[in-house]
Amino acid sequence: MARHVRSLIAISWSVMAAAGFGVAMAQQPAAKPAGALRGRVDIRRVAPVPERRPGTSELSAPLPREATDRRRAVVFLESAPRGAFEDRELPRVKLDQRRETFVPHVLAIMTGTTVDFPNSDATFHNVFSLSKTQRFDLGRYPQGRSKSVRFDRPGVVRVFCDIHSHMSAFIVVFSHPYFAVTDADGRYRIDGIPAGTYSVSAWYEGDTRDTRSITIPESGNADLDFTIN
């Protein structure tokens, strides 16, 4: 019987690990004095901004779009320390639809977070996702209105507009709080990480591009840079 229970536990961990952004805290150290992980993600080949489909049936040229920043990567701990899953109050976050662009292009959140999708354009938008992590379709709604979705499962959610096929964004959902989106210079900082050794990954435009091991000291910071080709 105990063997079956052990097998079940093993399977459970495998499933969670296979979720990509799942957790594995059994072998992690207990809560210790916290340090910070910081560094830079150097993106050598920035993903191009998706172009509109050629308007071979349009009567006129479309108006200019918002220029999105495609240099944002997400850095996160593959495994989370104990205490990472304590209940905490999660802020609502916003993924705007502005000049036929989702702003920001990459949003990283914790499970349980509610994302608002306001429409700031004069035209209708229809936000939807067919991602396995979370499928949703908010329907068409006009400027000034907003709809929201609560994300309860970790994973990557690719978001699109059903009307404007060139609009896309990523919502990366984690089950722990140890992640950060890089700034315009590629820099990131993850605070409050209990001391210990962790696997850290850099994610960019749909894929985990690099994974490294790092030890967070009992006090102070650890530095870790990534290069994404």
Binding site: P48, P50, E51, P54, E58, L59, S60, G139, S165, G206
Partner: protein, 408 residues
């Protein structure tokens, strides 16, 4: 332009597609299929594509034929569109299409000029997009929720551009025979008729569009007519088309279109005792309302053609056709929708030796369908279409159809 022929075998088609896909940049690909338009040269060149593979039982009533050989419910259609942005003010756009992967033709090719790039004013020249109506500019793969086309833009009536009926009797003899029609004057061979407004070819000319606030207006001068777009002027006349749209509220769009021009070549217009210019006039109203998971569209098209007066009983009054259509689409769950369209096509009456009768056979069409997105840009669709015609050899048919659509 024509590629292929008898040697363009099935394996060659597949190989050609594979080679084409292998030449494309990897960045736009996801899980082996391109997910987004392909761009080159920092977005100066953008290429998109559509592929529609449809299957259905044989349409014995020819309700869905776009010509004598091709049913729109049974076809493999590939289209590639491209835009080359020369600078902020000038872009070149074009699209090639192929039916059954055998005949590649240049569907559209035009230059777009924006004198003031930040204003809503565009001038387009070449084989330009249609000005008339709303449906004519919808992307079939993304914006036609059903497999069949609306009748106003696809259903072939008996009128031809290279042959004319000499009398009412000659005309009504071809009721319900639009896919293969013949009249006593002009070309002696059997050939297809025309739809009220076609979406299967583009007209050549110049088009100006602009807008301010909720209003957009467009006007075009083209060589052909809405029923019969032309690459070159074949009849010594032009067609003037205008369109205006008003966004009444977000999600509620009203449109009105009008076109008037020459339909028949001079050699046919000049026949008979009372020559009259063989022209076509078309008016249309359209509406699109959207809210939440619902999209509703309504379309009314009225077209009339003038024929030369040759023999008795003479075709003195214009031949008129009216189509009314209502289309509803609803998203049920993410990636899955249902849709329906109901249409009625009617014709006015003409004198015949047996009394007045409608010059073509009225048609009613109802199509119901559903679509499921396997990927964002890979959709499986199915539909059931019921056609009823008050004339012709096959008066009623029920056509189930299935389709796989891919676009990027």
């Amino acid at each position: 332009m024509r590629i292929g022929g008898p040697g363009w075998c099935g394996a060659g088609r597949v190989l050609g597609l594979c080679l084409l896909t292998q030449c494309l940049p990897a960045t736009a690909w996801s899980q082996g299929l391109p997910a987004l338009p392909l761009s080159f040269g920092h977005g100066r060149v953008v290429v998109s594509g559509d592929l529609a593979a449809s299957g259905a039982p044989e349409d014995l009533g020819f309700f869905n034929y776009s010509d004598y050989e091709h049913s729109t419910l049974r076809e493999l259609r590939v289209g590639l569109g491209a835009e080359v942005k020369v600078n902020r003010r000038l872009a070149l756009l074009g699209e090639v299409r192929t039916g059954e992967l055998s005949h590649l033709h240049l569907f559209s090719f035009f230059a777009r000029v924006q004198p003031w790039p930040d204003r809503r004013l565009s001038i387009q020249m070449g084989r330009i997009p249609p000005t008339f109506g709303a449906y004519t500019r919808r992307t079939y793969s993304r914006d036609n929720p059903l497999i069949g086309y609306p009748m106003a833009y696809q259903y072939l009536i008996s009128l031809r551009t290279d042959a004319v009926p000499v009398s009412g009797d000659d005309l009504v003899r071809m009721r319900g025979r639009g896919w293969l029609s013949a009249f006593s004057a002009g070309a002696a061979t059997l050939d297809r008729g025309v739809p009220l407004v076609t979406v299967f070819s583009r007209d050549t000319g110049i088009q100006v569009s602009g807008g301010r606030g909720a209003v957009n207006v467009s006007a075009a001068v083209t060589a052909g007519s809405p029923s019969n777009p032309q690459l070159h002027d074949g009849n010594g006349g032009v067609t003037v088309t205008t369109r205006a749209t008003l966004t009444v509220a977000p999600g509620l769009l009203l449109g009105a279109s009008y076109a008037s021009g020459t339909f028949l070549p001079d050699r046919l217009s000049g026949l008979g005792s009372r020559p009259q210019r063989g022209g076509q006039r078309v008016g249309g109203l359209d509406m699109e309302a959207a809210a939440g998971p619902w999209v509703t569209r309504a379309d009314l098209v009225v077209s009339e053609w003038r024929m030369p007066v040759i023999n008795q009983p003479a075709l003195i009054d214009p031949l008129r056709a009216v189509v009314a259509a209502l289309e509803v689409r609803r998203n049920l769950v993410p990636g899955f929708y249902v849709a329906g369209r109901a249409e009625r096509l009617l014709f006015n009456t003409v004198p015949t030796s047996l009394g007045r009768t409608s010059w073509e056979a009225p048609v009613t069409r109802v199509e119901l369908g559903a679509g499921y997105a396997l990927l964002r840009n890979l959709v499986a669709r199915t539909s059931l279409q019921v056609n009823r015609r008050d004339g012709g050899r096959v008066r009623r048919n029920v056509l189930p159809a299935a389709q796989l659509l891919f676009w990027f």
